[in-house]
Each structure stands twice: as structure tokens, then as C-alpha cells.
């Protein structure tokens, strides 16, 4: 027998809220990828791997030192920024002008090392942070909202807002945007492009590091989830529009909602199907992405 109408609507509303909240965290992860691509023009194929390393970092900090992931996300983001800066300076910069497939191979090599390194250290089992307030929730009318999800979404939104502000209001942020718009022009007016690229890669990784720390509050950490995260971030960025920051957040929200709807209303395994369905639809109808400019 079908449930009464009111119950059905409250189910939809619950799923929608959950999708939006998770989607914001996805959006932050994808934001990192989008920023790197938009400026450095390199697709970070190790993106999901960095997210997983962020998850494990937060997990270890919580288990060993009792540091809440919502706190540890800050030092993790800082460390990831330094790693990203160093990576761009040493490993990736020589590849910026190389063919796309060579960049890809370099980063896939890095991704393979990262995911299997994590596997060797932590093993294949799923690890869960088990926060004391993991199961707390608020009830607003018929809608039940997990507290962690709200915290995570708020934190993701805050980090994203910081990044937006950085690009809009600081001189360095504006210089990076100038690099993305017109590389030759930027070099001509004396901007240190290499340094700005390194900063950008650092910022991109800081985003994904923070997103990883937040993710550990929502889902279990396992090395094997890394390629799926890379795909997820990639899918979101393409749906939103490569290089568009707002697009990454919008794409994250869409994917979050689509996944939540599909997993509750169809079957949990249909989660990924829904996002790929969305991807194929976008590629077929609007290849530049929802908020992307035509190249």
C-alpha cells in the first residue's frame, strides 16, 4: 500500500535537505579541482586520492589525539596547501606546457601511489570516525536533519566563501584571475606566474583537504573510494562548467541531490548511476557545463 501523501512529501523533503547538505561538501571538493583547472589548466587526476588522504588525516587526528574533524580541517588544509605549493613547484610545473595525456599520466602515477600507499598503511577496511554527536539530529516539523551534516555543510560553505573572497578582494587573488584570463598578458605585466600557479595548486589542495576532513564525518574512509571521489569531483566540475567556481558549488548541489534522490527513491546502488546519467545529459546537451563558457 502506498504511504499517505503527506508522508511521501516529508520523505522527499528529507532527502532533498540531505542531498543539499552533502552536495555542499562535494562542491567544496570539486571547487579545488575547478580552481586548479581554471588557472593552471591541469586536470588533477589525483584529486580524490587527496580527499582520501585528508579523510585519513582527520581520522588519525581524531582517534589518536581526539581532535574533532571540524577543528582538524584547518591544520589539514594548511598542510595540504604547503603540499600543493611544493608539488606544483617541483613535479607539475614542468608539465604545464606538455600534452594533456602526459599530464594525465603523471598525475595518475601519483594517484596510484597515493591510493595504494594508503592501502598498505591502513589496509582495505573501512574506518569510521564515530563522533560522539554522529547521530544527533534536529527535528523541524516533519524534517529530520543530522547535526553533523549541517556542521559539515556550513563549514564547506565557509571555506568556499573564504576562497571566493580571496579571489575577489585580495591583490594576489586578482593576479591569479588575471593569469587564468590571459597568461601572456600576466607575464608581460610582470606577474610571477610560476608562483601564482603554485599558490593556486596549494589552494586547490587546501579545499580538497578540508573537504576530506569534513567527509570523514559523513562517511567511512577506505582507500578504494579514492578513484570514485576523483570521478565525482570531475563529474561535478564538468556539470558545473570547467573552471567556473560557482559552477563547482552548483554542480555539487545537483549531484548531492541527485544521489540522495536516487539512493532513497530507487536503490542505494543507483547513486552513482544518477550522477553519471546527469553527466551524460550535460555532455550531450551543454558540453561546456551549466555555468561554463564555450572554449
Amino acid at each position: 500500500m502506498d504511504p499517505p501523501n503527506g508522508m511521501l512529501w516529508s520523505l522527499y523533503a528529507n532527502v532533498l535537505v540531505q542531498g543539499v547538505l552533502t552536495g555542499l561538501v562535494y562542491g567544496l571538493m570539486a571547487l579545488g579541482l575547478s580552481v586548479i583547472f581554471g588557472v593552471v589548466r591541469v586536470v588533477n587526476f589525483a584529486h580524490g586520492e587527496f580527499a582520501v588522504v585528508g579523510m585519513y588525516a582527520a581520522f588519525v587526528l581524531f582517534r589518536s589525539f581526539g581532535i574533532d574533524p571540524f577543528v582538524s580541517m584547518l591544520p589539514i588544509a594548511a598542510v595540504f596547501f604547503v603540499i600543493g605549493y611544493g608539488l606544483q613547484r617541483t613535479l607539475i610545473n614542468p608539465f604545464v606546457s606538455r600534452p594533456e595525456h602526459e599530464q594525465f599520466i603523471l598525475l595518475v602515477g601519483l594517484a596510484i601511489i597515493m591510493v595504494n600507499g594508503t592501502l598498505m598503511i591502513f589496509g582495505p577496511d573501512a574506518r569510521s570516525a564515530n563522533l560522539s554527536y554522529s547521530f544527533d539530529s534536529w527535528e523541524i516539523g516533519a524534517i529530520i536533519v543530522d547535526k553533523v551534516r549541517v556542521y559539515a555543510a556550513t563549514a564547506a560553505l565557509a571555506v568556499a566563501a573564504l576562497l571566493f573572497a580571496f579571489f575577489r578582494f585580495t591583490a594576489t587573488g586578482v593576479a591569479i584571475r588575471a593569469c587564468a584570463d590571459n597568461l601572456v598578458g600576466a607575464a608581460v605585466v610582470g606577474l610571477d606566474v610560476k608562483k601564482l600557479y603554485a599558490l593556486t595548486f596549494g589552494l586547490g589542495l587546501a579545499c580538497v583537504g578540508a573537504a576530506g576532513a569534513l567527509m570523514v564525518t559523513l562517511t567511512d574512509a577506505t582507500p578504494m573510494i579514492a578513484p570514485a571521489f576523483t570521478l565525482l569531483a570531475f563529474t561535478i566540475v564538468i556539470i558545473g562548467g570547467m573552471g567556473s567556481m560557482t559552477g563547482a558549488i552548483v554542480g555539487g548541489l545537483l549531484i548531492g541531490i541527485a544521489e540522495a534522490m536516487a539512493s532513497v527513491l530507487i536503490a542505494p546502488s543507483m547513486k552513482t548511476m544518477a550522477s553519471f546519467g546527469l553527466l551524460v545529459l550535460v555532455l550531450a546537451l551543454r558540453p561546456q557545463g551549466l555555468l561554463g563558457r564555450r572554449a
Partner: protein, 338 residues
């Protein structure tokens, strides 16, 4: 195109010394099983197998310039079709390779059509190929007729039956060797054909190719379809070698990536690259697994992959064109020749 005439031409035009070397190489591989034990036979099987699928993938990327990161899809489809025909209907894999190829071709055509029709290129196309492999993984995971996530098994029979791919490591050694040789000859013939030249033109500059009368869309479609079909045949053989199929392994992106390492390391777009790459990479990986097992006292999953990752980075850093072009220079073979 008469295959025998083409073969004769290929043999005719190759330099004598190279031909002798090649013949000696094949002869050694033909008699090698006399001295190889079970373990080494299995290592060689993997070498031949990776050389074959590498050759198939190389058609898309090396010849036509289209990056596919979802080739595990075609291995899996081929494997499942072959296994289903045998287990459910008792139809020999020797016959089932035809439907296996057809199914892979159909999927390849859909991916190609979606991608190439809308001008989706480079990393976008790569993502599309991964997406389809993922969709297939989820689909097979939930399809109970083929065992779902619990896997699909091919019963091991005591009676050897080469036509039905039932037998020991020796059988699979020769089957894979034959596959590798056929794939090589096929690619050599394709490389010299009209289609092969069209692929190279598309890879180098699609716009210029179009101006010379090449239908770029058709050339790309031909590449994806032929590559898918070849890979599906290798998929059938692999399924019967393993005797089992698990969606989470079969369609895994890690598998797709493992498949593309040999041609990249050996030399993209070359005929010997995929073979050379497989001969370098697979033994190194296997040795590493064995070594770690000896030192640590147990198998540590992921060790060989960490090594593969490092190998990829080192190779792409120092010789982005792969080992074969470098070796060719050392051997004094002129640039325009294979």
C-alpha cells in the same frame, strides 16, 4: 583486403635482419614452456595478455589520439558474454567470441557516438569512458542472473578441451601468445592501411585531416569499435583463465589503468611499444610482489601498484615517448621505420 596478401607484404617489406630477430624471438617463446614452471607460465600469460590489450588500446590512443580510461569495460563485457554462453548454454568460447565482440562493439559505438558527435575530447572523453565502465560495474553488481556482486564462476573441469578454453597454464600460455602475435600483425596491417593513415592524421591534427577529405568522426568511430572488439576477445580468454568474474574487479578503474601502462611505457603509437612495455612491466611487478611477500612474510596488496605508479611517473618524466623510440635510436633503426 586479402589478409594473406597483406601478411606477405608486411613480411616482404620488413628489413631482413629485423625479420630474423623477430622469428628467433617467436621461436624462443614457442619452445620456452619446456623449461618454464607453472608460476612462470602464468607470468608469461600475463605478459602476453597485457601486450594484447595494450595493442588494442594503442589503436585508440596511440594511433587515433583518443584517450580511453575505461577499457576494462570491454574486457568485462567480453568476459561475461563468453562465460555466460559457456555456463548457461554450453556454447564454446571459440564461438562466443563473436557475440562478445559484438556486445563490446555496441558499447564502444555508443561511447564513441556520444563523445565524438558532440566534439567531446581529451579529458572529457576520458571521463565518459570511465563513466561507462562504472555504470557497467554497478549494473553487473546488481544483475542477479550473472551472479551480481557475489561473482560469476566458470566450473573447472578435469578434462582438457582446448577449443573450450579448458586446460592448464600451458594451454593459456599458447592461447595468449597466439593472441599477442595476431594482435601485432593486425595492428601492423592497420597501421599501413588507409584507415591507419586516417587515424594518424586525426591524432596529429583533426582540422587539417578534415581539410584533406578525412571523415574524422568515422575514423574515430572505427578506432573505438576495432579496439573494443580486440579487447573483448582478450576479455573472453582472461575470464576462462581466471574461472571467475567479479564486477568490482573486472570493471575497476585500476584495471583500466593497468591495461594502458604497457603501451605508454613501451611507446605510444608504436607497434613494438605495447609488447616491450608488457615485457618490462609485468615481470617487474610480479618480482616485486614475490619479493615483498618473502621479506614481509605475507602478501601486501598494493605493492606492485605503488611500483607501477612510480614507474609511470619516472617514464613520463624522462622519456615521454616511451622506451621503444629510445631503444630504436640505440639500435640505429631510422626514424621513419618500425
Amino acid at each position: 583486403m586479402n589478409p594473406f596478401a597483406t601478411l606477405a607484404r608486411l613480411v616482404d617489406e620488413a628489413p631482413r635482419r629485423a625479420l630474423l630477430l623477430l622469428a628467433a624471438f617467436v621461436a624462443v617463446l614457442l619452445v620456452a614452456p619446456v623449461v618454464l614452471d607453472r608460476y612462470l607460465l602464468s607470468v608469461f600469460f600475463l605478459i602476453f595478455w597485457f601486450a594484447t590489450v595494450g595493442q588494442a588500446w594503442n589503436i585508440m590512443m596511440g594511433f587515433c589520439g583518443q584517450l580511453s580510461l575505461g577499457h576494462a569495460l570491454y574486457v568485462g563485457l567480453g568476459g561475461y558474454v563468453g562465460a555466460l554462453f559457456w555456463v548457461k548454454f554450453g556454447i564454446s568460447p571459440a564461438i562466443a567470441i563473436v557475440p562478445a565482440m559484438l556486445v563490446a562493439v555496441a558499447f564502444g559505438a555508443v561511447i564513441g557516438w556520444l563523445g565524438f558527435r558532440f566534439g567531446i575530447e581529451g579529458v572529457y572523453f576520458a571521463l565518459l569512458t570511465i563513466a561507462f565502465a562504472e555504470v557497467a560495474r554497478i549494473g553487473f553488481d546488481n544483475w542477479s542472473f550473472v551472479g551480481g556482486a557475489a561473482g560469476f564462476f566458470i566450473p573447472v573441469s578435469s578434462a582438457a578441451s582446448p577449443v573450450n578454453l579448458r586446460g592448464g597454464p600451458m594451454l593459456f600460455y599458447y592461447v595468449a601468445l597466439a593472441m599477442m602475435i595476431i594482435a601485432f600483425i593486425l595492428c601492423a596491417a592497420l597501421r599501413r592501411s588507409r584507415l591507419g593513415h586516417a587515424w594518424l592524421a586525426v591524432r596529429e591534427d583533426a582540422e587539417a585531416a578534415r581539410a584533406l577529405g578525412i571523415d574524422v568522426f568515422r575514423a574515430k568511430m572505427a578506432a573505438v569499435v576495432i579496439s573494443a572488439a580486440m579487447t573483448a576477445v582478450a576479455g573472453v580468454v582472461y575470464a576462462f583463465y581466471q574461472n571467475n568474474l567479479f564486477p568490482s574487479q573486472t570493471f575497476d578503474i585500476a584495471r583500466s589503468i593497468e591495461m594502458i601502462l604497457a603501451p605508454i611505457i613501451g611507446g605510444l603509437g608504436t607497434l613494438f611499444g605495447p609488447i616491450l612495455g608488457a615485457f618490462i612491466l609485468t615481470p617487474l611487478g610480479q618480482t616485486l610482489i614475490a619479493l615483498v611477500e618473502k621479506i614481509a612474510g605475507r602478501a601486501i596488496p598494493g605493492v606492485n601498484l605503488v611500483f607501477y605508479g612510480a614507474a609511470l611517473m619516472v617514464i613520463i618524466w624522462f622519456t615521454p615517448n616511451g622506451v621503444w623510440p629510445w631503444l630504436k635510436k640505440k639500435l640505429g633503426i631510422p626514424e621513419g621505420r618500425e
